[in-house]
């Protein structure tokens, strides 16, 4: 839009130049041409302005010849010699203005066919861009689950980790030099730190499991088993003592109560479990 007035102005300058050529000037200063162009523009604009004013003064919207004549008179322009001017001299005709062709965008990177606008989008909206700008094509690579390759991968990973760790240690910890020189340490060896006493690690049991949770036997069932054994042993003692039936009943009652109590507040802790009576031998006997 900024370019438009410039083009008209250029055309006006061209017209002025051809008029000057007609009248016999071969060259002109740039300043003169600018002045004359400006004057011509001012003339046309002023005539238009005055014509419009006269037209509106007489209550019309469309300008007629009379308005233009009045504006000529107002400006002090002698229009009587116009006909003579037209007839006497042959005037150069500038080529008509041509519509500027909007520069076509080079479609160098066009890919695929553009998607037409959806129904809900008005047609005057801009077109969709090239499909590659928004269409996504997922390309998933199938993972290799072949045994050999998996093993190989794992081995490589393991080796890499070891290498990296070694490197890290050799750089952060103290190192031994493989050669007995003070030159740059090309093959650093991780320094061995002897512990005192050296045999201690061998004596410390490391392969035994001391955690109760790691045991295969369920501690709960173990405790119940202990309880049963304990009761059995008690019964055994009682029968041996040949006690009364009444006494046995009360004992049974107490046992049931004891059982229920045991079930209700059972604590999974070997130290809080019921004490184990040395009834193992008795059981074996019975």
């Amino acid at each position: 839009m900024e370019q438009q007035p410039n083009i008209y102005r250029k055309m006006l300058a061209a017209a002025v130049s051809s008029i000057l050529l007609e009248s016999g000037c071969d060259f002109t200063e740039k300043e003169c041409l600018g002045t004359l162009t400006e004057m011509m523009q001012a003339f046309v604009t002023e005539v238009a302005h005055l014509s419009k004013t006269y037209c509106e003064l007489s209550g019309r919207v469309e300008p007629i010849l009379g308005d233009v004549i009045l504006s000529f008179v107002e400006m002090g322009f002698n229009f009587n010699s116009l006909e003579n001017y037209v007839k006497t001299s042959k005037h150069v005709v500038l080529p008509p203005l041509q519509l500027q062709q909007p520069q076509k965008q080079l479609n160098m990177l066009a890919a695929g066919s553009k998607q037409p606008l959806s129904v809900h989008i008005p047609q005057h909206f801009p077109q969709f861009p090239d499909p590659h700008a928004y269409v996504r094509t997922p390309t998933h690579k199938q993972p290799i689950i072949d045994y050999e390759s998996v093993r190989e991968k794992a081995a490589i990973q393991k080796r890499d980790i070891e290498k990296a760790l070694t490197k890290f240690l050799s750089k952060t910890n103290s190192t031994h030099n493989i050669f007995d020189t003070d030159e740059s340490n090309i093959f650093p060896l991780i320094a061995c730190k002897p512990t005192t006493p050296a045999y201690l690690s061998a004596l410390l049991p490391q392969d035994q499991i001391f955690d109760a949770e790691d045991l295969d036997i369920d501690p709960k069932s173990q405790i119940l088993q202990q309880q049963k054994n304990h009761d059995k042993a008690k019964n055994h003692i009682k029968t041996e003592n040949k006690s009364d039936d009444d006494k046995r009943e009360t004992l049974n009652e107490s046992r049931t109560s004891e059982d229920s109590a045991n079930n209700s507040n059972y604590i999974d802790n070997p130290y809080l479990a019921a004490t184990k009576l040395p009834g193992g031998e008795i059981m074996e006997i019975s």
Partner: protein
């Protein structure tokens, strides 16, 4: 007073009449200034004539306006050059025949002064 008005009217009639005849001739005449350019400037100041002949009339008027000024300036130029050539002698007589005229502000300023236009360019006019 009344007579004066009548005279003016008569004058207008006599002035306007040939012009309206002339306007009819403009049908197939193309002025130097393209119609599109003139109508652009007309539109920019609010005038939008439906008759293309009006546009042409204004174009021709502008053309004549500039042409008159150019002619005057050229006369000045010629006068100045003949003056200077007479001073320099007969040597440049050969040159006058194929002399080429260059319009300068020196010539344009007095020519415009005759039209009642004083030009004072700003110092930094581009």
């Amino acid at each position: 007073m009344n007579q004066d008005e009548k005279m003016i009217e008569d004058n207008n009639m006599t002035l306007g009449q040939p012009l309206s005849d002339f306007l009819l001739q403009l049908e197939d005449y193309t002025p130097t200034i393209p119609d599109a350019v003139t109508s652009y400037y007309l539109r920019s100041s609010g005038l939008e004539p439906k008759d293309p002949r009006l546009v042409r009339l204004i174009s021709i008027a502008a053309q004549k306006f500039i042409s008159d000024i150019a002619n005057d300036a050229l006369q000045h130029c010629k006068m100045r050059s003949t003056n200077s050539s007479s001073h320099s002698g007969s040597k440049s007589k050969q040159g006058t025949k194929d002399r080429r005229f260059c319009l300068t502000m020196e010539d344009l300023t007095p020519a415009l002064a005759e039209f009642g236009i004083t030009i004072k360019k700003p110092h930094y006019y581009v």
